[in-house]
């Protein structure tokens, strides 16, 4: 079992956002969680990532059989979890290559593998940057500094390609992207899917559009902090047709 969330409850600043969420993701599966703003879907992503501002008040999360909520953010990454942010932050003065190499080596060390040297790592960067159509010039800069919205999202997937996580959580990766950028990002994700059939994905999104490009195995509808309905990829189309209010009265899955 890749990820097992049981009756998760979480809040921020005294406000309850997640109110008993259950979800199981097996290795190799791609799941999509769809919900409106305020449904708690981004909170879920942040709680899984380990942001301290969010307080877990109940339930549990197991990642590859281990207690995820006990781990620091860096431990979660080293165990193989990757969170692609909705609004990636800029890090002026921190070079992309230096940052990624440090992260890469930290993860390798955790796995008991040897660290790679600068040259070898730079070759890896060259290779993967082609996948996301990021120019080598861009990679000599500071992390996300001066990047357009689309470039930032592509940079998230680029990092995913380098760090080779086991579970990839994409938090509204499609928001703010035009068709071209969406295609590039999706191709990147699909390549990562093919590369490792055991790799799992959790796509968090508002609109169905992304799911035309990255086809999910399971779709879950999230309303008011809970998953109210789960189904196959057709559920996304049904949601698109009927709207979220049609699912409002369903009881929790």
């Amino acid at each position: 079992m890749m990820l097992k969330i049981s009756n998760l409850q979480a809040r921020i600043e005294e406000k309850e956002i997640i109110k008993g969420l259950n979800l199981e993701i097996k290795p190799g599966e791609t799941h999509a969680i769809m919900g409106v703003n305020g449904s708690g879907k981004s909170t879920l992503a942040n709680v899984l990532g380990g942001r301290e501002e969010y307080e877990v008040t109940g339930g549990s999360v197991e990642f590859l059989g281990k207690d995820l909520l006990e781990m620091d953010p860096e431990e979660r990454a080293r165990e193989g979890l990757f969170l692609a942010f909705q609004y990636p932050v800029e890090l002026p003065g921190v070079l992309i290559s230096y940052f990624l190499r440090t992260a890469y080596n930290a993860i390798r060390e955790h796995r008991g593998e040897a660290a790679v040297q600068v040259r070898e790592f730079n070759k890896l960067i060259q290779e993967k940057s082609k996948l996301l159509q990021l120019s080598p010039e861009l990679l000599k800069r500071s992390v996300n500094e001066g990047f357009s919205g689309g470039e930032k999202k592509r940079n998230e997937i680029f990092q995913m390609a380098i760090l080779e996580p086991k579970l990839c959580i994409l938090d509204e990766t499609d928001s703010g992207l035009d068709i071209d950028a969406l295609q590039i990002v999706s191709e990147g994700v699909n390549t990562l899917k093919q590369e490792d059939p055991e790799r799992s994905f959790l796509l968090i999104t508002h609109y169905q559009r992304l799911l035309n490009y990255i086809v999910p195995d399971y779709v879950h509808v999230m309303i008011d902090g809970k998953i109210v309905k789960s189904g196959g990829k057709e559920l996304a189309l049904e949601l698109e047709e009927k709207g979220y209010s049609a699912f409002q009265s369903s009881s929790a899955a």
Binding site: G49, G50, R51, E52, D72, P73, E74, R76, A77, R78, F82, L83, F85, P88, V89, L91, P92, G93, V94, Y98, F99, L100, T102, A103, Y104, A106, I107, H110, S142, V143, Q159, L163
Partner: protein
């Protein structure tokens, strides 16, 4: 511009002044050229009249100098030099290869300057103040002390009152000093509470270029006091880079005043780095006196424990069409304190001035304290002056981003702090010095 100094008679009786003045009197005026002796006497009189600034003085509001006033300081003597071995001096020095190096011990020149002079390119002269002969008297007459206003500059008055030695560097018209002049000022700590007064005069003539590094270090941790003055004269179309690196012992108190007078078309880059010292006050006062001049002032302080730094800058745009860029940053941990008072004066005729000032501080603990006071005094109406000041902790979003990729909290903090400091260290033109300073930042921070 005169600042009010204390005239409270109680504060004027500073025992160590009287004692030190008497010691110099006994030695007579023979150790220094007569001009210096005169200036020394003038400064002593001013000092006795004015005393040291009190906390009521606006310019010294955030920096408590009671320890200096009350301290039981003993004037350093030339004998200090022989007490500190070449080996010891070497140990403390910055490992810079391609430089001309001079060591001073408690303000007294320890290196044989005649040997150094032989190695310098034609057109470059280095002279020891106490040995300045008749041939240099014209230079001294013209420049020595001419950038200072003793009656309103306490640090200048202190230094001039007790001057016994110093260094003069002259780079003649059109000459390029091929390697930086690196001056290591070591505090001997031979006896507790030694007071030393290093002095530097740099004259870069028309079209000439030079770099000078002043590095403050100490042999032991005993507490000493240092008041240094550096006067920099940058001629027409000349270029001077000046670096001050403060690695004083954690018990030392140092006041340093750096003055710069720039003529037209000149460039002066002034850098200040503070890592050591219990209480350090860096005064940087450049004046743009000729059109099309450019002044850059870069400062970085990295403090821990109970350290206190007071960065006090006054930049004078006295004439039109000049540019300036000021960037002062600080990283403060534990109970350390940082003060930044940055004044930019734009005089009525200084039209088309383009001045930028930026001050930023990162606090790493609850108890660190910052005082920032940017002041723009603008009298001309066709100018561009921007300034910004920020104080904050490390950005939580940025920290989380790094950690979410597997970087440890410690490494993530270091990465962000290096990036923060990098803004200032990137301006160091000398590659070898830049690497050294960046390493020092990381070492000092090592969380």
């Amino acid at each position: 511009m005169k600042e009010a100094m204390s005239t409270d008679s109680e504060e004027n009786t500073i025992p160590w002044y009287d004692r030190s003045i008497r010691i110099l009197e006994e030695k007579g005026g023979s150790q220094v050229p007569s001009l210096l002796h005169e200036r020394r006497l003038e400064a002593q009189a001013t000092l006795l009249r004015m005393g040291l600034p009190s906390a009521k003085s606006e310019d010294w509001k955030y920096t408590d100098i009671r320890d200096v006033r009350a301290g039981n300081f003993a004037l350093a003597m030339p004998e200090s030099v022989s007490q500190v071995d070449e080996d010891v001096r070497q140990l403390r020095a910055l490992p810079l290869d391609e430089v001309y190096r001079i060591d001073t011990v408690d303000g007294f020149v320890a290196t044989h300057l005649t040997q150094l002079q032989a190695a310098l390119p034609e057109g470059v002269e280095v002279v020891q103040l106490s040995e300045a002969s008749a041939s240099q008297s014209q230079l001294l007459e013209q420049y020595f002390g001419s950038s200072l206003t003793i009656t309103s500059d306490s640090v200048a008055a202190l230094n001039t009152a007790f001057i016994q030695d110093g260094i003069v560097l002259k780079v003649s018209k059109g000459t390029v000093l091929d390697k930086p002049l690196y001056i290591q000022h070591i505090s001997s700590g031979l006896s507790d509470h030694t007071a030393s007064f290093p002095r530097l005069l740099v004259v870069v003539e028309e079209g000439a270029q030079a770099s000078v590094i002043e590095h403050f270090t100490a042999v032991t941790g005993s507490s000493s006091f240092c008041a240094s003055v550096s006067e920099l004269f940058v001629g027409k179309n000349a270029h001077l880079s000046h670096y001050q690196v403060g690695e004083d012992s954690l018990e030392n108190i140092r006041f340093s005043r750096v003055m710069a007078h720039q003529e037209k078309d000149s460039v002066c880059r002034m850098h200040s780095f503070t890592f050591g010292g219990k209480l350090v006050r860096n005064e940087v006062h450049p004046s743009l006196l000729g059109q099309n001049g450019r002044t850059c002032m870069y400062g970085l302080s990295v403090l821990k424990h109970n350290q206190h730094v007071d960065n006090h800058t006054v930049l004078d745009h006295a004439v039109p069409h000049c540019e300036s860029d000021e960037r002062y940053k600080g990283i403060y941990d534990d109970r350390s304190q940082g003060v930044f008072c940055g004044t930019i004066i734009v005089r009525p005729d200084a039209q088309k001035t383009n001045a930028i000032q930026n001050n930023a501080a990162v606090v790493l603990s609850d108890k660190a304290r910052i005082n920032a006071k940017p002041q723009l005094k603008i009298w001309a109406d066709d100018v561009k002056c921007t300034h910004g000041a920020t104080v904050g902790a490390l950005d939580m979003q940025q920290l989380f981003y790094l950690r979410s990729r597997g970087v440890s909290e410690r490494d993530a903090k270091n990465m962000l702090l290096r990036a923060f400091a990098g803004d200032v260290t990137q301006e160091i033109d000398l590659e070898s010095l830049r690497v050294l300073i960046e390493d020092r930042v990381v070492e000092k921070l090592s969380l």
